[in-house]
């Protein structure tokens, strides 16, 4: 098939599935609603693989600057300069499509089992759920396929909408409704910047097409051919990054993501861990040329990434809600990705995105499996020792957890290591050390969760008879994803390299080669991760050691000496409370932003009612007063008074006519 056909059908199939489910689901499909979406996403994945195949074949002779395929003309920005609906099929898109669609497929399959009760009856809103899911897959595909900034914005907003709808899936829960709104609004704050960035791009380059913009940036000239100022490019990059911060929940716009866990767990896995939240990373990578042209922007991206990674990890240490721990770990991992982007290791960041999708989705789905078995209970203090009751869940969770912790030879080990390595090699080496510290914390909090929830003697929350393994619909995706968590990383590693790590593995492999054309222009610029450091693998050993140490500490604290954590919590007092209360960011926003804005709204409403209407009242009072005055003199109800008035009026008119005739 042609690239264009593939590019059309990949997003369209899930959309058709979703639309059909939405239209006829409630009446006819009912608890068979998943099939349409499942087929749609599945076919889409097949098409994405075909696309991948084709792009790989063409890789040699394809010119990336002309890789946009125009589908139709969408919006006219003035006299025939149409902004098109165009798609771009380059390696980056292929990687993203594969990641998104494969995780989506797994999540859809999982949801079939998850969105039912123990008797196999579908939950209320089953068809709605799958329709939204299909809509999300469509939006995400649009996002990654987009060939210009406008279409990117479309996908960007549509995934926001799907996220909003899915977080608010249990809309009757006030917390879910609030979380949905919060997610949308915080994203909109980012989109405000993102939108301004797009406008500024148009203002500067006179176009929104990726290829045209990027080539102009590379040439260092704006639309009129004048030299592009660094200030302008930095502004553009930072505005775009605003959008990325919103969508990828980076500091300080991270507040929505933990709350987003109010949604059904498959949604958290798909949208708020594996795919949608990585859109910001994708966007920055996509605009790597722009970012690379501005050292300041790169510095800010890297710093915010590192800060978020550390910040989220510290919070994750103290949380008890399994999904929230995972949410903060997602924040933290996203921080890694931005760290990677910030130090110029775009391919590594995308690599981490790709590996992260699998193990994090697996972790979330595992948490969902636990939740399903514990009748909705998710607080790790309420249960333990699930290992025996739920072996598949346990093992897959453990594998994915090891991957997250950066255990050697698992997927994240390679990708995370690359990022830290790139950071250490560059001028912002201290970011690398933050990354290492975070890696330690990550291993600790991941295994804190695993040890508390799965090990030890079996304890179950009230009302749950026994821990039981979930059904086939749920366990198969878990296993598939666990396999992914183990082996996904090997596409980014050169195997059987005797000089490599463990005399077998050398970082950077087919994955990076495949992506190389995309980042060629950008990576050449400021910071490169040269091969020179690859000879010594001290970093790999170090991070492996840190992971092991973290896991050991967690075991020691929570299995061996369960009193220690409490002692530390008590000892550290205010710091613990700070972590536990998520640094009071929500409260700060409420106090500093929401309330003043609300006050301002009240103020405006008051101005309306009193000031403007008051002025109106006064203005209206003038004729009224005149009328009352005249009434006293003239309108007494006497015929002659009126006659006099008529006569005077007549005279005025006659006088006017006479003098002007």
């Amino acid at each position: 098939m042609e690239l264009k056909t593939l590019a059309i059908w990949i997003p369209l199939l899930p959309l058709i599935g979703a639309a059909l489910v939405g239209l006829i689901g409630l009446r006819w499909l009912k608890d068979r609603s998943h099939w349409l979406v499942l087929i749609g996403v599945g076919l889409s994945l097949v098409f994405a693989l075909l696309l991948f195949q084709q792009v790989r074949q063409d890789a040699a002779d394809v010119d990336l600057s002309a890789a946009s395929i125009v589908l139709y003309e969408w919006i006219d920005a003035g006299e025939g300069s149409w902004l098109n609906v165009s798609v771009r099929t380059d390696p980056l898109t292929c990687v993203m499509l594969f990641t998104v669609l494969s995780v989506s497929l797994m999540v859809v399959v999982y949801s079939v089992g998850y969105m039912r009760d123990h008797h196999g009856h579908a939950e209320r809103g089953y068809e709605r759920f799958f329709a939204f899911l299909g809509l999300f897959v469509f939006s995400m595909c649009m996002l990654v396929l987009a060939g210009n900034f406008l279409l990117l914005y479309l996908g960007w907003e549509l995934v926001g909408l799907s996220s909003y709808l899915l977080i608010g899936f249990y809309y009757e829960k006030p917390s879910a409704a609030a979380a949905a709104k919060k997610a949308f609004l915080v994203n909109r704050i980012g989109d405000f910047g993102f939108g301004l960035g797009i406008f500024l791009i148009y203002l500067t380059f006179g176009t929104l097409d990726y290829a045209a913009v990027f080539s102009m940036v590379e040439a260092g000239a704006d639309a009129t051919g004048e030299v592009l100022s660094t200030g302008r490019i930095t502004t553009i990059a930072l505005l775009l990054f605003c959008g990325a911060m919103g969508k990828s929940a980076q500091l300080p716009l991270h507040v929505w993501l933990p709350d987003a866990m109010e949604g059904p767990t498959p949604v958290s896995a798909l949208i708020h861990a594996a795919t949608m939240v990585t859109a910001g990373v994708y966007m920055v990578a996509r605009c790597c040329v722009i970012f690379a042209a501005s050292p300041v922007a790169m510095w800010i991206v890297g710093s915010i990434g590192a800060a978020t990674a550390l910040f989220a990890a510290t919070i994750a240490l103290t949380q008890f809600d399994m999904k929230r721990i995972l949410a903060y770990s997602t924040l933290s991992q996203l921080g890694y990705m931005f760290l990677g982007l910030g130090v110029g290791a775009f391919d590594s960041a995308i690599f981490h995105l790709y590996t992260h999708a699998f193990f994090k989705a697996c972790l979330f789905l595992g948490a969902g499996s636990v939740m399903h078995a514990m009748a909705g209970e998710i607080d790790i203090r309420r249960f333990s020792g699930l290992k025996r009751g739920m072996p598949i869940t346990y093992w897959t969770f453990l594998i994915a957890g090891l991957a997250l912790a950066g255990f050697p030879l698992l997927s994240a080990f390679w990708s995370k290591d690359e990022i830290i390595h790139a950071a250490l090699a560059g001028p912002m080496w201290w970011l690398g050390w933050i990354g290492l510290l975070t890696a330690l914390l990550t291993a600790f909090y991941t295994f804190r969760m695993i040890f508390v929830a799965f090990h030890g003697e079996e304890r179950l929350p009230k009302g749950v008879e026994h821990a039981h393994e979930s059904g086939r619909w749920m366990t198969v995706p878990l296993m598939v994803l666990a396999v992914g968590a183990v082996f996904a990383g090997y596409v980014g590693v050169t195997l059987f390299e005797t000089s490599g790590f463990l005399w077998l593995f050398e970082p950077e492999g087919a994955f990076h080669e495949f992506l190389a054309p995309v980042f060629a222009e950008a990576v050449a610029a400021p910071v490169a991760h040269e091969a020179e450091a690859h000879g010594s693998h001290w970093l790999m050993w170090l991070s492996a050691g840190l992971a092991a140490f973290g896991i050991y500490t967690a075991w020691f604290f929570y299995r061996r000496r369960p009193t220690i954590p409490m002692a530390i919590a008590l000892a550290s007092g205010s710091i613990y409370r700070l972590f536990y209360n998520k640094y009071y960011v929500d409260e700060l926003y409420e106090l500093a932003l929401v309330r003043p804005l609300r006050r301002f709204g009240d103020f405006c409403h008051g101005v309306d009612r009193f000031v403007i209407n008051g002025i109106l009242w006064i203005v209206a009072g003038v004729p009224k007063a005149i009328g009352f005055g005249l009434k006293g003199w003239q309108q007494q109800g006497a015929l002659q008074g009126y006659a006099l008035g008529m006569l005077i009026g007549l005279l005025v008119i006659v006088w006017w006519v006479l003098t002007n005739a």
Partner: protein, 256 residues
């Protein structure tokens, strides 16, 4: 066209006329105004005579015309200013008669005669009757009689009314005067008055036949209407019986 001097003259006369009417209007307890009024009336009428003298130029019968005009205007002033309605009505007869004479004088003899018959003969009599009907001079209504005179003796907003009336007068006069009279042909106008009544009759019976019929119908309707209005049993103020609810007067009372 009038000369500029004449225009000022006319304005002067008008101004005096206005003052005259103002002071002539009845006002309670100010007898000295009467003298002023007579004086101003004399001045005004004199001015008017002079004005007409100029206007009429060398016309043969300007004397008669002026006299008739003076009678009419003076009578009208008295109608407006006299405090007793009966006298007003009588002065009005004077106005009608002098106007009729004027009209006959300019050649519209039928209209003039009809004026005398209809106005002086019919309408004025009705007026006098109504005045008599509404002026009970019995013992019982003595005090009321006084109050009746009271409202007759004080004018309402005299300043505004006189101003408005006289400015209106001036505007109408100005429009008349401003017309270009050069195309006026005295001879043909005189020719039209030769067999005035006959021509008029012919016109009324041919060209305006329908209008005449309509006028007749109008008269009849008015007559019926007048009877209907007057026949309604209106509670007299002195009866002090309970009045029907407002708005139901016409509904509850059969006109015939």
């Amino acid at each position: 066209m009038l000369s500029q001097q004449l225009v000022y003259w006319a304005y002067g006369v008008g101004g005096f006329g206005a003052l005259c009417v103002y002071f002539g209007l009845p006002k309670e307890g100010r007898p000295e105004r009467r003298g002023l009024f007579v004086l101003l009336l004399a001045v005004t009428l004199g001015g008017l005579v002079l004005l007409f003298d100029r206007l009429l130029g060398e016309s043969a019968n300007r004397f008669v015309f002026s006299i008739l005009a003076l009678l009419g205007v003076g009578g009208a002033v008295r109608v407006v200013t006299h405090p007793r309605p009966v006298y007003s009505a009588l002065y009005f007869i004077l106005v009608v008669l002098s106007t009729a004479a004027l009209i006959i004088y300019v050649g519209a003899e039928f209209l003039g005669v009809a004026l005398v018959i209809v106005y002086a003969g019919a309408i004025l009599v009705t007026y006098v009757f109504v005045i008599m009907l509404s002026q009970q001079s019995t013992e019982a209504t003595e005090s009321r009689f006084a109050s009746v005179l009271d409202y007759d003796r004080s004018a309402r907003e005299p300043v505004w009314a006189v101003l408005a009336g006289f400015i209106l007068m001036a505007t109408v006069a100005a429009i008349i005067v401003k017309r270009d009279w050069s195309d006026w042909d005295e001879v043909s106008a005189a020719a039209m008055t030769e067999k005035n009544t006959l021509e008029l009759g012919k016109m009324l019976m041919t060209e305006f036949a329908i209008s005449v019929e309509l006028a007749g119908v109008l008269l009849m309707v008015a007559m019926i209407g007048a009877i209907a209005v007057a026949k309604k049993r209106i509670p007299h103020a002195s009866d002090a019986v309970e009045s029907p609810p407002r708005g139901e007067v016409g509904k509850t009372v059969d006109p015939f």
